[in-house]
């Protein structure tokens, strides 16, 4: 029985150190939101105090974060006092990890006279409702319906709060983070399109 020869590879000296890598320079700090103040914000802060949570500028775009209980008054103030007569967009963002304030509802406003845009944001909890903006700008009609359709946020006082893009009987709100991208309302699909939950078999 021969003794297994020891590996003839020379052992790597433990003391051999790899040449030191040059230190990676720290990344330059990216842009951060800067506080933004103007006369109107000042006035609002005086009236609502802590209701105006934040007023900042990021990359040249101004935004204001307000409390959800006063958002309709803020929007009316923007339209009536500051002349923001055009609601550009109304949408929502879902942050499931944020307790008690899962949804960010964003209103983008524009003033023709001043040629400026401002974003008014508010944060609400899952299941809470917001007052509708339809009486302030009729544009909000379908935009709010889409927010309801995609996120499930209801707007009180809306003339016709129902789904817009998805079929009426659909269960689920797709743009929420827990709704997987492959998910669909299988029951609705089966009843209405005749596709069984197992999917379309080839040859059909």
């Amino acid at each position: 029985m021969a003794a297994a020869p020891v590996a003839s590879k020379p052992a790597v000296p433990a003391s051999a150190a790899a040449p030191a890598k040059p230190a990676i320079p720290p990344k330059p700090a990216g842009p951060t939101p800067q506080p933004w103040d103007n006369e109107f914000i000042h006035r609002l802060k005086k009236v609502y105090g802590s209701g105006i949570r934040e007023a900042s500028t990021y990359l040249g775009q101004n935004y204001v974060v307000v409390d959800f209980s006063i958002v309709d008054e803020i929007l009316s103030a923007y339209r009536d006092d500051e002349g923001f007569d055009y609601l550009v967009d109304l949408t929502a963002v879902h942050y499931p990890k944020r307790e008690k304030a899962e949804f960010d509802v964003v209103y983008v406003l524009y003033s023709f006279a001043k040629n400026t845009r401002v974003r008014v944001k508010t944060q609400i909890a899952d299941g809470a409702t917001l007052p509708t903006a339809v009486d302030i700008w009729p544009t909000a009609d379908w935009l709010e319906r889409e927010v309801f359709d995609m996120f499930g946020i209801r707007f009180e006082g809306h003339p016709d709060m129902k789904r817009i893009l998805l079929p009426d009987g659909w269960v689920g709100h797709p743009l929420r983070k827990e709704y997987s991208i492959l998910q669909q309302d299988k029951e609705w699909v089966q009843i209405n399109l005749g596709i069984p939950p197992s999917g379309i078999e080839s040859g059909q």
Partner: protein, 389 residues
């Protein structure tokens, strides 16, 4: 008539006279007429439920969502670069505009600006796309009103524009022409000559379209006074684009908040007076000529230089959100992007001009006749891919 209605059931098993009852009215003298979703002139899968009193329209209800593909949801699961081709498929008639808006929005987010040469290329291609989009609009709108010949003329001339696109980026319709940070493709050999020849070729064709329609008595009678939407209504409803300009509001994002190379271009903003269908027609025709003017200026002055800014290969924008919009041929096309610092956007919201403009349909057709509804849908210039995303 009641028997006729009772036997029809709509797709979801609802009875016709129970379908979508808005809270304001339902009277037994009304006839409910359903247009679409498959209909020769709803420009896509749009369902319009008309409540008629004889031939007069009392109100409409639009049912959309037949082309909903979940683009915003997809946006959360693709990287910024991967999402760019999806954007073309929304307003598929004017894909280059969509791409421009998206690339500029992401460039705003990562605080990078495309180099001047890329800006000029983008401007030229976007204006060519505007002409092509308006040609599609003109052909289909004229066809709805009954003039079948302009359709063939406009589509024939649009072919020349699509040839230029094909030579530039390989695709005619869903072009994906721009990249985040600039353009990927350098201008091909002979691009300037092609574009100049194209401009010379196409300008007399605009005069042909006008000859067929602008002073045609039947066209004028069909479109003057139809679907009036004045300036205040437009602003309140959020309607932008040629509809707003036809109502007399001289507002164009290319002049109000210039982007790409528009600040260096000299062009006018055509406006109308009454906000009716004829004014919208004239505004878009004049926009065709203005686009030619921009293209001619731009193509003579393309600066040299790189076509792509320094953008990291792995694109991870810092945490934050922006909203950026451009003047697409149909109105204000906006992108609201929320980034959480990762490779994929946290929220990709697209503000489609056609979606918001389509809301105005109800207001525009009250009191008109059924034949006018078709004209008004045509003049709104909607593309269902954009409405439904």
């Amino acid at each position: 008539m009641k028997e006729l209605l009772e036997n029809d059931r709509d797709f979801y098993g609802q009875e016709w006279n129970e379908v979508e009852k808005p809270s304001t009215y339902l009277d037994s003298n009304e006839l409910i007429l359903n247009m679409g979703p498959q209909h020769p002139s709803t420009h896509g899968v749009l369902r319009v439920i008309l409540k008629l009193d004889g031939e007069k329209v009392l109100g409409t209800e639009c049912v959309i969502g037949y082309l909903h593909r979940g683009v915003e949801k997809i946006g959360e699961h693709r990287t910024y670069t991967q999402f760019a081709p999806y954007v073309d498929r929304m307003d598929y008639v004017a894909a280059i505009s969509n791409g421009l808006g998206y690339c500029q929005a992401v460039e705003t987010l990562i605080n990078v600006e495309a180099p001047p040469r890329a800006q000029y290329i983008r401007t030229i291609l976007t204006e060519l796309q505007r002409i092509a989009s308006h040609q599609v609009w003109l052909g289909t709108h004229a066809l709805d009103i009954g003039a079948m010949t302009p359709l063939f003329y406009t589509f024939r001339d649009r072919e020349e524009i699509l040839k230029v696109f094909e030579k530039y980026c390989g695709a005619r319709l869903t072009t994906h022409a721009f990249r985040i940070g600039g353009c990927q493709w350098e201008l091909y050999e002979g691009f300037e000559k092609d574009v100049k020849k194209l401009c010379d070729f196409i300008e007399p064709k605009f005069a042909e379209y006008e000859e067929l329609l602008t002073t045609n008595r039947i066209w004028v009678e069909r479109t003057k006074g139809v679907g009036i939407l004045n300036g205040d209504d437009c602003k309140a409803l959020g309607v932008t684009g040629p509809l707003l300009r036809a109502a007399g509001v001289k507002w164009d994002l290319r002049k109000a908040q210039p982007y790409a190379a528009y600040s260096k271009m000299d062009f006018e903003i055509p406006t109308g007076e009454n906000g009716d269908t004829y004014d919208r027609y004239m505004v878009r025709i004049k926009e065709l000529y203005q686009s030619l003017k921009i293209i001619r200026q731009a193509v003579d002055n393309i600066p040299d230089g790189p076509i792509m800014a320094k953008v990291p290969k792995v694109l991870k924008p810092p945490v934050g959100e922006i909203y950026h919009s451009i003047e697409a041929p149909k109105g204000e096309l906006g992108y609201f992007i929320v980034s959480d610092g990762s490779l994929q956007p946290y929220r990709m919201r697209i503000r489609p001009p056609s979606f918001v403009n389509l809301q105005a349909l109800d207001k525009m057709v009250r009191g008109l006749l059924v034949a006018d509804v078709v004209a008004v849908i045509g003049t709104l210039d909607i593309v269902l891919g954009e409405v439904d995303r």
